[in-house]
């Protein structure tokens, strides 16, 4: 589309440049200038107009995606309570039955005992998924207080440190030393960071590397920056940026738009609920922030979170 327009523009430009030479020399200077300059003005106006159209198309698409995402979240919420009740009762029966049998068959052979243990484990697994759904559908409120974002990240890392060490994964931290305090629900943001670190750990496998960096930036432009209602940030607004990068294989291009969808997972059945990133996005957006997932040029995935920085009244 763009190349076709450029082609037409160039042809038009050539013709109108020749016109004054062919017909217009005798007409006089002012007309000559008009003939030469007009096409440039027309092309500049046209390009500006097409640029606007493209920008509005992109915005419309972003709004449509947001709407779809929000409808998905609402459906999940509505479904969760119903599913929870219908599934948790049978799970209670199975778990109690398994425990009755385990006690009665205390002297049975090892393979029978193993089957009973597996059944109890399966109930636990199903309950974790249902529990995640219930929590997901209810997490609509925040307990906001000013907190040190770097400290929140450190606390989250403390929760996964053991797993990092066990897998021999190197952690590289580059935390901005004078990041101002941010208004956040520290518990929920820890949930976000633990989710992201856990995903990164699964992506890099043994002996990989995870990098976490914080920085502070003043936004001038970007997809979420502007003065419209749909824009999350105003031009010139200061934000804290958290980048979590890994040395894994990256996110396949066809998955990039789906990674924040509820129930989207690439992990083996039973290993993930597919709610981790979706919940993370929900939490970050409740804070008025944004979260994006992408790939690094050098390979590996990168998740970028932007959080609004405190304004008046924020402790230093």
């Amino acid at each position: 589309m763009v190349s076709a327009l450029l082609g037409v523009g160039l042809v038009a430009l050539t013709i109108v440049h020749l016109l004054p030479v062919y017909f217009g020399l005798s007409i006089g200077g002012p007309f000559l200038i008009l003939f030469v300059v007009a096409p440039y003005i027309a092309i500049a106006l046209g390009a500006g107009w097409f640029g606007e159209v493209r920008r509005y198309q992109a915005e419309l698409r972003a709004m449509q995606l947001q709407l779809i995402q929000s409808e998905k979240l609402d459906s999940v919420g509505r479904m969760a309570a119903g599913v929870a009740h219908e599934v948790k009762n049978p799970l209670q029966m199975i778990l109690t039955g398994v425990e009755v049998l385990s006690k009665r068959l205390a002297d049975t052979d090892e393979s029978t005992r193993q089957i009973l243990r597996d059944m109890a484990d399966a109930v636990e697994r199903a309950d974790r998924i249902i529990g995640g759904l219930l929590n997901y559908s209810r997490d609509r409120g925040l307990g906001l207080a000013y907190a040190d974002l770097n400290g929140t990240i450190e606390k989250s890392l403390a929760l996964v440190n053991h797993e990092l060490d066990k897998a021999g994964i190197a952690l590289v931290k580059n935390l901005h030393e004078s990041l101002p305090m941010v208004r956040l629900d520290e518990f929920k943001m820890q949930q976000v960071f633990v989710n992201l670190f856990t995903n990164a750990m699964h992506a890099v496998g043994r002996d990989g590397q995870i990098r976490v960096a914080t920085s502070m930036e003043r936004l001038t432009r970007g997809p979420n920056v502007g003065h419209r209602k749909t824009d999350r940030y105003t031009p010139g607004e200061r934000v804290a940026i958290i980048r979590i990068e890994d040395s894994g294989p990256g996110i396949p291009r066809e998955h990039l738009e789906k990674v924040f969808d509820p129930f989207f997972t690439t992990k083996p059945t039973g290993s993930g609920t597919g709610l981790g990133l979706s919940v993370s996005r929900q939490i970050v957006e409740m804070h008025g922030g944004t979260i994006e997932a992408g790939n690094r040029d050098a390979g590996g995935a990168r998740v970028t979170i932007m959080m609004k920085l405190g304004t008046a009244g924020a402790p230093a």
Partner: protein, 127 residues
């Protein structure tokens, strides 16, 4: 010392059957089952339980109403109640600290050993 009397009120027959068996065989409890919520108060008056495990979402009456009827009953007032419910996730239970309407609760599915622990903590001590 007499055996602890436990009343299980839940419309799911399979749950009360298995749980009654477990508590009888492994906890030495005297268990009575009531699968119709609307009959829970009458059953409690007959049985005089030391603790009632009460489901919340039942087809004929909700557990909250049953709990308040029990507390309004002069004979049953003060009978300990623990809600056993599918409406909350396990993350939301916090031992005896978190309560629904002032009562402790357990999230289904709960390991029957935990049910036994709750009996030890909450049941009225036997004579």
């Amino acid at each position: 010392m007499r055996r602890r009397r436990i009343l299980l009120v839940d419309d799911e027959v399979s749950i009360t059957r298995a749980l009654a068996l477990y508590l009888t065989e492994n906890g030495g409890c005297d268990v009575r089952v009531e699968n119709e919520g609307i009959r829970a108060v009458a059953s409690a008056r007959e049985f005089e339980p030391d603790l009632i495990f009460l489901d919340i979402m039942m087809p004929d009456i909700d557990g909250g109403t049953v709990a308040s009827e029990i507390q309004d009953d002069p004979l049953l007032r003060g009978t300990p109640i623990v809600f056993l419910t599918a409406l909350v996730s396990r993350d939301e239970t916090g031992g005896t600290l978190k309560r629904i309407g002032g009562y402790p609760f357990l999230a289904k599915p709960t390991h029957p050993e935990v049910v036994l622990e709750y009996i030890k903590v909450h049941a009225r001590k036997g004579a």
